[in-house]
């Protein structure tokens, strides 16, 4: 794919991924066929900031985990009052990373 397009994609979407994953994504994108560009540019990613807000407000109910697609862990958090409140607090710091990794999982379907 055109390096210009790749840079544009990375600039627009850098906040959705971990910084150490960016190099790998860039390499993959450069080697990717041009026909995938249309698909790639319309993927919706989950915003880590949004999940952080949800985690702070409704983390004890597990809504943040439900939102990023970890339904099983969400049920666990819901049933245990956010893991007696401890898991809820741990997730305030973990949820952004978890969201970025979910995004990585999503884009990987298109990269290979």
């Amino acid at each position: 794919m055109d390096a210009h397009k790749v840079d544009m994609f990375l600039m627009a979407n850098s906040k959705f991924f971990e910084s150490h994953q960016m190099n790998m994504i860039r390499e993959r994108l450069v080697n990717l066929d041009d026909s995938k560009w249309a698909m790639l540019s319309i993927i919706q990613f989950k915003d880590p900031t949004t999940s952080l807000i949800v985690s702070i407000l409704a983390g004890s109910l597990g809504i943040d985990r439900f939102m990023i697609g970890d339904t099983g862990l969400g049920v666990g958090k819901l049933l245990t009052c956010g893991g007696l409140g401890i898991w809820a607090i741990v997730d305030w710091f973990q949820i952004q990373k978890a969201t970025r990794e979910k995004n990585m999982q999503k884009i990987q379907q298109f990269l290979y």
């Binding site: 970890d70 339904t71 862990l73 049933l79 956010g82 007696l84 607090i89 978890a98």
Partner: protein, 138 residues
């Protein structure tokens, strides 16, 4: 944090262990008597019970054999009790046999729960339970 088999199993074991320690602590220190099992963040901040408030008391009544009282306190206690009884055994059997049946089962349940036909009724049940909790004033 992408879940793989070992991560899921360690989370489950830690959660069950914490659950048993918490249960032991609650039973021995008699916190049930004065209705103050106050670790819930929601109850602390906005002073209304969350959907699963009262499940500790519910499980304690279960251990004493008061099944109706347990249901009356919080039906979620039954679900937690079943998970706490089954999960550690299943995890240890899986580790012993080098199997991943629990992980496969977890993924199946998770993908099923994401479907609206299961998700909506269950969410409705949780909300009904929440309303019931608030009216009971747990």
């Amino acid at each position: 944090m992408l879940l793989d088999r070992n991560k899921l199993y360690s989370i489950l074991l830690i959660a069950c262990l914490a659950g048993y320690i918490w249960l032991y602590y609650s039973i021995t220190s008699n916190v049930t008597e004065n209705n103050s099992v106050e670790v819930c963040l929601i109850k602390h901040t906005i002073n209304i019970p969350c959907p699963s408030c009262g499940s500790t008391r519910s499980i304690i009544s279960l251990t004493k054999g008061n099944f109706w009282e347990a249901f009356d306190l919080n039906p979620i206690g039954y679900i937690i009790a079943v998970i706490m009884l089954i999960a550690p055994v299943w995890v240890f059997v899986d580790i012993r046999l080098r199997n991943n049946s629990l992980f496969v089962c977890y993924q199946k349940i998770e993908s099923r729960l994401k479907k609206p036909k299961y998700a909506i009724p269950l969410a409705f049940l949780v909300i009904m339970n929440w309303i019931w909790n608030i009216t009971k004033g747990l």
